[in-house]
């Protein structure tokens, strides 16, 4: 009788965390890894294409970012770019309950100015923002923001499945076949599986 206990493939999981599909590639499943990567990156970049960089925002959409973070360093990099290059400091209104200073995106009629007292950029209303330092991106709203965020978050959730697949060796006999696409390869894998089954009796 054979044991069905899975052994954890830590290096593959770490690589999968760093880049979508890298764990599968590391384990020899190049085609699977490329396709997994294409699925995750297609969703994540598709989300950015639909909703703009505004869909990855660890401050203003924190709950959604928890899902997006599962894409890996790419998500953190996009978020860092968004926070540092596309936002500016502004005073939070008292009505929000937590008055103070925080970064936020600019509205179309605002411009970034240098505040000497705080040594921070801040958004102020401007008569002609196009002539000065207007917001570098359009804040996505409504359906485009919702769908873009959904794309990027599902990318993270999908990558979580792919990371688990890299961490846990398959019980589907998949590793016997690797990426073999020839009939001979499949036949050899079938013979091996049959032999293993007979040995387990």
């Amino acid at each position: 009788m054979t044991t069905d206990r899975a052994t954890l493939d830590i290096p593959a999981a770490v690589l999968a965390l760093l880049f979508p599909g890298a764990g599968q590639m590391f384990r020899g499943n190049l085609y699977r890894g490329v396709m997994a990567s294409m699925g995750v990156l297609g969703l994540f970049l598709g989300g950015l294409l639909i909703g703009g960089i505004d869909v990855v925002d660890s401050k203003e959409d924190r709950i959604w970012f928890y899902g997006e973070a599962l894409v890996g360093p790419l998500a953190f990099g996009v978020d860092a770019l968004h926070q540092n290059r596309f936002k500016a400091w502004a005073q939070v209104p008292a009505v929000t309950g937590r008055p103070g200073w925080d970064t936020r995106s600019g509205y179309p009629n605002e411009t970034r100015t240098w505040n000497d007292e705080r040594a921070r950029y801040e958004w102020v209303a401007a008569a002609n923002p196009a002539a000065t330092d207007a917001p570098p991106n359009k804040k996505s709203i409504a359906k485009m923001n919702e769908l873009g965020t959904l794309f990027a978050t599902i990318a993270g959730m999908l990558n979580f499945i792919i990371i688990l697949d890299a961490l846990l060796p398959s019980k589907r006999g998949r590793d016997l076949t690797k990426d073999v696409s020839t009939t001979a390869g499949i036949a050899a894998a079938t013979v091996a599986a049959t032999a293993a089954a007979e040995l387990s009796v």
């Binding site: 979508p20 599909g21 599968q24 085609y31 699977r32 890894g33 396709m35 997994a36 294409m38 699925g39 995750v40 297609g42 969703l43 970049l45 598709g46 950015l48 294409l49 639909i50 909703g51 703009g52 960089i53 505004d54 596309f86 179309p108 923002p129 196009a130 330092d133 207007a134 917001p135 570098p136 991106n137 359009k138 996505s140 709203i141 409504a142 359906k143 485009m144 923001n145 769908l147 873009g148 959904l150 794309f151 599902i154 990318a155 999908l158 990558n159 499945i161 792919i162 697949d165 589907r172 006999g173 998949r174 076949t177 990426d179 696409s181 499949i186």
Partner: protein, 84 residues
């Protein structure tokens, strides 16, 4: 920096009128990623991706039809609004 020009991946696209069409690439990329780790025989990969894409899109269309029937017909017949 002006915001007049559209910059891909930075600014949102203007697809508010046909947002529902974006369901298709959503379902397709989910299928591509999911089937990459679930397909046993990779020779059938793209066929399974296509099947799964159609299943997701079809399922959501059915859910939409169901929600429409519920809101437009079932609920008004069960609890008619005054004056209707």
């Amino acid at each position: 920096m002006s915001t007049l020009a559209y910059t891909p991946f930075i600014d949102p696209i203007a697809a508010h009128e046909y947002w529902f069409a974006l369901l298709i690439p959503l379902a397709f990329f989910i299928a591509v990623g999911y089937k990459a780790v679930r397909t046993v025989d990779m020779r059938t990969y793209w066929r399974q991706v296509l099947t799964f894409t159609i299943q997701i899109v079809g399922g959501i269309i059915l859910l939409g039809i169901g929600a429409y029937v519920l809101i437009a017909f079932a609920i008004p017949s069960l609890a008619p609004m005054p004056g209707s």
